[in-house]
Amino acid sequence: MNFTDFGFWPRFLICLALVWIFKGTALFLKKDLPGWFDRVVLASISLYLLASVGALTFGIFLLLASLAYVGILLLSVIPKDKRWLFLSFYIPVLLIPLIYYKYHSFVAEEILGWSKDTFNAILIPAGISFYTFQKIAILVDAARLDSYRPKLLDFANFASFFPQVVAGPIERKEELMPQMERFRFTCNWDNLNAAAPWLALGFFYKLCLADNLSPFINRDDMASAWPILFTTFLFGLKIYFDFCGYSLIALGLARLLGVTLTLNFRSPYLSANIRDFWRRWHVSLSYWFRDYVYIPLGGSRTRYWWAGLLLVFLLSGIWHGAGWCFLLWGALHGIYCVVSHVTKDHIRLPSPVGWAITMVLVFAAWLPFYETRWPVLSHKLAILCSSSSYSSSLLRQYAMSFDSWHYLPITLLIILSLATFTAEAFCSRKKDHYGYANHPVAIIILITLTVWFGSTKGNDFIYFSF
């Protein structure tokens, strides 16, 4: 479900209005509604909105959620010492749809060398990577507890809670489940006021910044190193504003309903080192890999911690997409992190220098992330490695290729992005990420910029394809 799509909001608001009317009528007639009413309605709304995404997404989601719930019930009756054996069979079963839909063609064509015509293009269910990982997490958490049997209704709400189901944050049991268990529809100013800054900022990031940057990302200009560098820079901005924007809207939607979700981004482009970056970028996925892959592999206490770290980032790369380029992106970040860990006690850099190096490394790694055509990527890397590609005449030639319709909006977008980062930096110092959006004046400015400049060209969120 795309929160910036016009189709989403009427559906959501009509559902909400019906709930208020029903609850208001019950209150007026002094009739008590049963305790489960709100939770049944929430599950119904979530499932309805998920079904509106598409039959395949809905079907695969139901299958995985059912398997996960059955798995939890089975775990509660299996002795503790046998649970890990059970999970070693059951988790691969949960992964089958993800592997089939997302990786089959990569494995068949790139690894097994089969012809490209072996499979017809298969549509990937939206958000499959997100909800598969969430289900694995709750199964592992359940195996660690003595006996965990959530009520079906609470589990349904936990698994399907619509603001987070399609593109995260990958919420954990301990955070979301208690909120689902005591969920009530309450219409009050506190919820509305808590939601407003996140919605205003999320829409501004997505519609005004990310979507307006899209037309300027020209992946096919390889005349010199300059267009490749500039496109990579713009893509780095776009992916942040796109995914962070989505996550902030999700947060705002959840707050409207009185639910708090994980802040998935914490001003990552202000990170002073690469470890810090991964504590700020797609936080719920980073922590998922830490808790369910890295630590079970021994974490930082084993001699081969670096191998565990590399594996985590390779898995993170392949989680994002089936392709060698995504693996390269993961490998680069794995190497960055290993080097950062090894050198952290020996090299102390001033913060601005550390920040600059981190940003160069992060933005350089975006190249294989957006350029997923391997031969084209090789060609671009060859251009970037050639000193003749950086001549000032080529830079002039590239600058001249922009007409006023290009350089004026792009300049305005870069100014807006820098202003945003400055505001983020101001708030980050007080650990109040994105706190600048809390002020009513800031909300008005953000909404005004979104209404006046926001693109309506229907760009999907990048992370929908993951």
Partner: protein, 309 residues
């Protein structure tokens, strides 16, 4: 939340006010449209059928309706900004048509090869003139209009704002064309001169949906005793590309002639003299416009004579 809702409503209203009444681009084209319609009404009052040229800005810069009228061919140039989209251009033009008139479709080749559309600028212009709500023959051009898109369009937009900021900093005019350069009959001219680049040689075919759309409007015109034909606008080609350009345009016009009558312009849309162009590859200078219009008189005369018979 109050700040969010208030911001949403107020910023939308301010954006809409700007888009409908303050935007210099809209103000210019609104004024141009007003003058064109006044001219059309003036001619209609004489009781003679007239030629109505419908197209984008290349039409506005290439056809001198004042000269045609003075030469015995009553005409109005309804060419508007191509950036409004073909549907908007057609709606503006059709509003000037009265029974018995002849419509000369003069959309650029590239726009005939693409599906018909209305852009944000088109919606703004249609709403600011009230044309979007009219139910005459012009509404035929606007069938299947997306009202959500129309509502969404009432915002200044990033590219427009960036260019306005640059113009304000740079000084000078806020829109490149001025209303004092709108000529009698509806043609437009400019004193600005920019080097023109050559047109690309690539074969295009008329878009099937556009053909169907133009065909539907032409049928409706026929039913009210009006007729229509297509005239290809001139575009700048390098002298070496003249033959290739004319060849591809001939093929294009042959395909088009299966649906529409075509004005047999011997230039076939190719002009190789760069001096004839003002600020784009399809905007003729005033002198070149008069020259081209004189050349068109014998070609267009039969269309009105047929009507008179």
């Amino acid at each position: 939340m109050l700040a969010l809702l208030a911001g949403l409503v107020v910023s939308y209203l301010l954006g809409a006010i700007y888009s409908l009444w303050i935007n210099p681009e809209i103000r210019f084209w609104k004024e141009a449209y007003k003058q064109k319609i006044e001219w059309a009404k003036k001619i209609s009052k004489t009781g003679h059928p007239k030629l109505v040229f419908i197209g984008g800005s290349s039409t506005a810069f290439q056809i001198d309706a004042g000269l045609l009228t003075a030469s015995g061919l009553p005409a109005v140039n309804m060419g508007m900004h191509a950036g409004m989209g073909t549907k908007a251009n057609a709606a503006f033009g059709l509003n000037a048509v009265r029974p018995g008139d002849t419509v000369i479709w003069a959309f650029e080749k590239g726009r005939m090869a693409a599906p018909p559309q209305v852009t944000d600028l088109g919606y703004q212009a249609l709403l600011s003139t009230g044309l979007l709500f009219q139910r005459g023959i012009e509404s035929l051009a606007l069938e299947h209009i997306d009202w959500i898109e129309a509502i969404e369009s009432l915002r200044p937009g990033l590219a427009h704002t960036a260019s306005m900021i640059a113009k304000l900093i740079h000084g000078g005019y806020l829109y490149r064309y001025q209303t004092n350069l709108i000529r009698e009959g509806g043609s437009i001219t400019t004193d600005e001169r920019r080097p023109v680049s050559k047109a690309e040689i690539n074969q295009m075919s008329p878009n099937a949906i556009t053909l169907q759309w133009v065909g539907m409007m032409s049928a409706a015109l026929n039913s009210q005793d009006s007729s229509s034909a297509y005239l290809i606008p001139q575009e700048f080609y390098q002298p070496v590309d003249k033959e290739a350009g004319q060849m591809q345009n001939r093929v294009f016009l042959d395909e088009l002639s299966q649906t529409l009558k075509v004005v047999n312009d011997p230039f076939l849309g190719v002009q190789t003299n760069a001096e004839c162009f003002a600020d784009t590859t399809s905007h003729l200078t005033e002198a070149a416009r008069l020259e081209r219009t004189r050349g068109l008189i014998p070609l267009l005369t039969p269309f009105l004579e047929i009507k008179k018979q």
